[in-house]
């Protein structure tokens, strides 16, 4: 038997409402790999990502992190995880710096105000660091959310459509960030409708909804 992958999905079945989205889905992702989830709208990509993050209880099957079920690991698994969903998870009344520092504290580590400023500069938000984020554009809000990627030390990144609302430069930068993360032994699980050939050779692809299409 080959060695088990770091994150392993075993015969997963997810149901939304009355509809079965997928059944007997099995795959594994190892450190240093990108998993690209594909599928048409409504094929269950977001549901699968939420299940992988532990937000959603699958109908059947198991998700294992280093051989242990994420249901039993819970907070120990959350330590290794960074999930970025459709929602940016930033507060409109707080500035970008405040948002970044609070999400870092919640993720279990502290970053100084200077560090937060430099990360936001790096991600292209110079001059907007201390504005309430409700005054920013969609793309800028997305950048505030993505700034967490630069601050975080999590191993597993689960990114749901991370490229939406971003301009060309930001897309390029995000790809670089993901590549660096994966090259450093991280795992990235992403869904996107854009072509991401540039994510590297270490990309695995899982296609959802083939049977129903």
């Amino acid at each position: 038997m080959t060695e088990q992958p770091a994150l392993e999905v075993d015969k997963l079945c997810c149901v939304r409402g009355d509809r079965e989205l997928f059944r007997d889905l099995s795959f594994g992702v190892d450190r240093g790999e990108v998993l690209h989830l594909k599928g048409h709208n409504g094929s269950g990509k977001t549901t699968l990502l939420r299940a992988l993050a532990g937000l959603l209880l699958p109908e059947d099957g198991a998700i294992r992190w280093r051989g242990e079920s994420i249901r039993s690991l819970r907070e120990d698994y959350a330590r290794h995880l960074l999930y970025l969903g459709h929602l940016n998870a930033i507060k409109g009344d707080l500035s970008a710096v405040e948002n970044l520092r609070i999400s870092a504290i919640l993720d279990g580590f502290e970053i100084t105000e200077d560090r937060a400023w430099s990360i936001l500069g790096e991600i292209g938000l110079s001059g907007h660091e201390d504005l309430p984020t409700k005054h920013l554009s969609q793309g800028q809000k997305r950048r505030v959310a993505l700034a967490r990627l630069l601050a975080n030390q999590a191993t597993v990144w689960i990114l749901d459509e991370p490229f939406t609302a971003l301009d060309v430069a930001a897309v390029q930068m995000l790809q670089d960030v993901i590549q660096r993360h994966v090259a450093g032994g991280g795992i990235a699980i992403i869904t996107t409708h854009q072509e991401v050939a540039m994510l590297g050779d270490q990309t695995r692809t899982v296609v959802l909804g083939r049977h129903h299409a």
């Binding site: 993050a53 532990g54 937000l55 959603l56 209880l57 907070e75 120990d76 959350a78 330590r79 995880l81 999930y83 969903g85 459709h86 929602l87 940016n88 998870a89 930033i90 507060k91 409109g92 009344d93 707080l94 405040e98 609070i102 999400s103 504290i105 919640l106 993720d107 279990g108 502290e110 309430p132």
Partner: protein
């Protein structure tokens, strides 16, 4: 871990300070409800003194229930709530932080305002003291218990009404001992035993409610 608790309280207080209008709606609702009774019943001091503890307490209870929906709904809408469920911090600890911040913003002003409203009803000085003390012990318990209901009704379309139906019956013990403490003090019996019961309810809900709320939040985000 304690850092996360302090940060979440700071975060919620900062947000509340930047949108002050939300704070005053609860407080003004409380003032109006309590002030309506003398208008409806008439200005007979004997009657007013008699109903004062109950009226002020029911007013505080309704006002704090009205504010409940705000505890989690904004965080639910912008996605920060699901991030809180994904942190290495115990969710119940974050719930304690959020409820505490919520109480400081919506509950504490009620406690501060209550003596003024008590004066409207010609409550005696010991009665006013008992009123403040009972609200100080009771309103945090209301916030903690209400948080369970707020988490359970999160994201539902008619959540507000359902929340009231769920939470109001659970508020009854707090109301009985809260108003009872003031009545007992005014009539000279001493309200210590009522206040002790309120304190016990507060401690009990501090231990149990965050755990139940955390579980309900997980269900709500599923």
């Amino acid at each position: 871990m304690l850092e996360a608790l302090i940060w979440i309280i700071r975060r919620d207080l900062t947000i509340a300070m930047r949108r002050r209008a939300d704070i005053f709606t609860t407080l003004i609702f409380f003032v109006i409800v309590v002030s309506l009774f003398p208008l409806g019943i008439g200005p007979e001091l004997d009657t007013l003194r008699l109903i004062a503890p109950g009226v002020v307490w029911v007013g505080a209870l309704l006002a704090s229930m009205l504010a409940l929906e705000q505890i989690f709904s904004a965080d639910h809408r912008d996605g920060t709530l699901e991030q809180m469920l994904l942190t290495p911090q115990p969710v119940s600890l974050l719930v304690v932080g959020k409820v505490l911040a919520h109480w400081l913003v919506t509950g504490l002003p009620l406690v501060v305002m209550a003596p003024l409203l008590g004066l409207q009803y010609d409550l005696s000085w010991p009665g006013l003291q008992a009123l403040v003390l009972s609200l100080l012990l009771g309103t945090p318990a209301l916030s903690l218990i209400g948080a369970i209901g707020a988490a359970l009704t999160l994201g539902l379309r008619s959540g507000g009404v359902l929340l009231a139906l769920l939470v109001l019956p659970l508020y009854i013990p707090v109301l009985i001992f809260g108003a009872g403490a003031v009545e007992a003090t005014v009539s000279g019996l001493g309200g210590q035993s009522h206040l002790a019961m309120l304190a016990a309810i507060l401690v009990g809900s501090l231990v149990l409610a965050p755990v139940a709320t955390a579980a309900a939040l997980r269900v709500a985000e599923d």
